[in-house]
């Protein structure tokens, strides 16, 4: 593993590190809002992976230059970056926004109902409800009945 190899794959390292940070936050943090933040970091890592893969060395923004009459001038010497991953990731960003806002809206409702956004407290409340239900309706298996 030479230095060249490490530096040459910089975007992948960042992708892997960001992705792991994001996933770690989602899994390990109990605060529901922090989980959403983790999810966002996780998704941002993927956006970065896509956008960096579209980059072509020496490439410029994929817009054809026009002359004064507005006619498109196609110059075969200009190298353009690949726009397709950008377009794809625009869609993924929109999906990410929708997910984030829906998640936050759910958290608002959860806070109104449970008076907490800490996972452990919510689990405790749910477990108590489930326990009460099991007492009333007979035992069940499989966690929060």
């Amino acid at each position: 593993m030479t230095l060249d190899y490490i530096l040459g794959h910089m975007n992948y390292w960042f992708f892997v590190i960001l992705m792991m940070i994001g996933l770690y936050i989602v899994i390990s943090y109990g605060n529901l809002v922090k989980k959403i933040v983790g999810l966002n970091i996780f998704q941002a890592a993927v956006f970065m992976l896509y956008i960096s893969m579209g980059k072509i060395t020496g490439g410029t923004a994929p817009i054809f230059p026009t002359d004064l009459q507005g006619k498109i001038q196609i110059d075969p010497n200009i190298v353009y970056t690949n726009p397709v991953p950008h377009v794809l990731i625009l869609t993924a960003i929109v999906v990410g926004i929708a997910t984030t806002s829906l998640g936050l809206a759910l958290i608002v409702r959860i806070r109104e109902q449970y008076d907490s956004i800490e996972e452990q407290e919510i689990l405790d409340i749910d477990a108590a409800t489930a326990h009460a239900e099991n007492l009333a309706h007979g035992q069940a298996m499989g966690g929060r009945a």
Binding site: I63, L104, A105, V108
Partner: protein, 146 residues
């Protein structure tokens, strides 16, 4: 009500400019970077900024929540409607060439314009709706808490 005078004046100056810029980005989307997504967000920023400085009530008088909700649906329908129009003209869904059979590139331009209009309306609506939803949420007071 005279707090933050500078903020209020600057906001009033900015809102118009932001909306103008939003229109610029919107209608330049088929020639240069820009388009419905970006323009929609910029447009929504104008309303959100106004709401932040003057309060939710004021901005909701300008853009009532029910209008925002209709905007969400309307934009999507404009987008899909463009596609259906193409289909009625005998092309594939969203085949803009059919708009101008002799000059396909003109057809592409007009098709993109309609579609981006739909996108812009929906994105504006969504952004403002998200802001309204979170800013306008009152803590729920149950009957027992009175």
């Amino acid at each position: 009500m005279h707090h933050h005078l500078i903020l209020r004046v600057i906001t009033k100056l900015l809102v118009g400019t932001i909306i103008l810029f939003a229109f610029y980005v919107q209608f330049h989307g088929d020639f240069s970077p820009g388009g419905g997504f970006q323009a929609g967000v910029i447009m929504a920023v104008a309303f959100i900024l106004y709401g932040l400085v003057f309060g939710l009530n004021h901005v909701q008088r300008v853009l009532p929540p029910w209008v925002v909700h209709k905007m969400l649906a309307l934009g999507v329908l404009i987008y899909a409607g463009t596609g259906v129009w193409n289909m009625m003209l005998g092309g594939e869904f969203l085949n803009y060439n059919i708009f101008s059979p002799l000059h396909p590139s003109h057809g592409q331009h007009s098709g993109i314009l309609y579609v981006e209009l739909g996108v812009g309306i929906t994105v504006t609506g969504v952004m403002v709706a998200i802001y309204y939803a979170f800013a306008g949420r009152r803590p729920f007071i149950g009957d027992d808490d009175w």
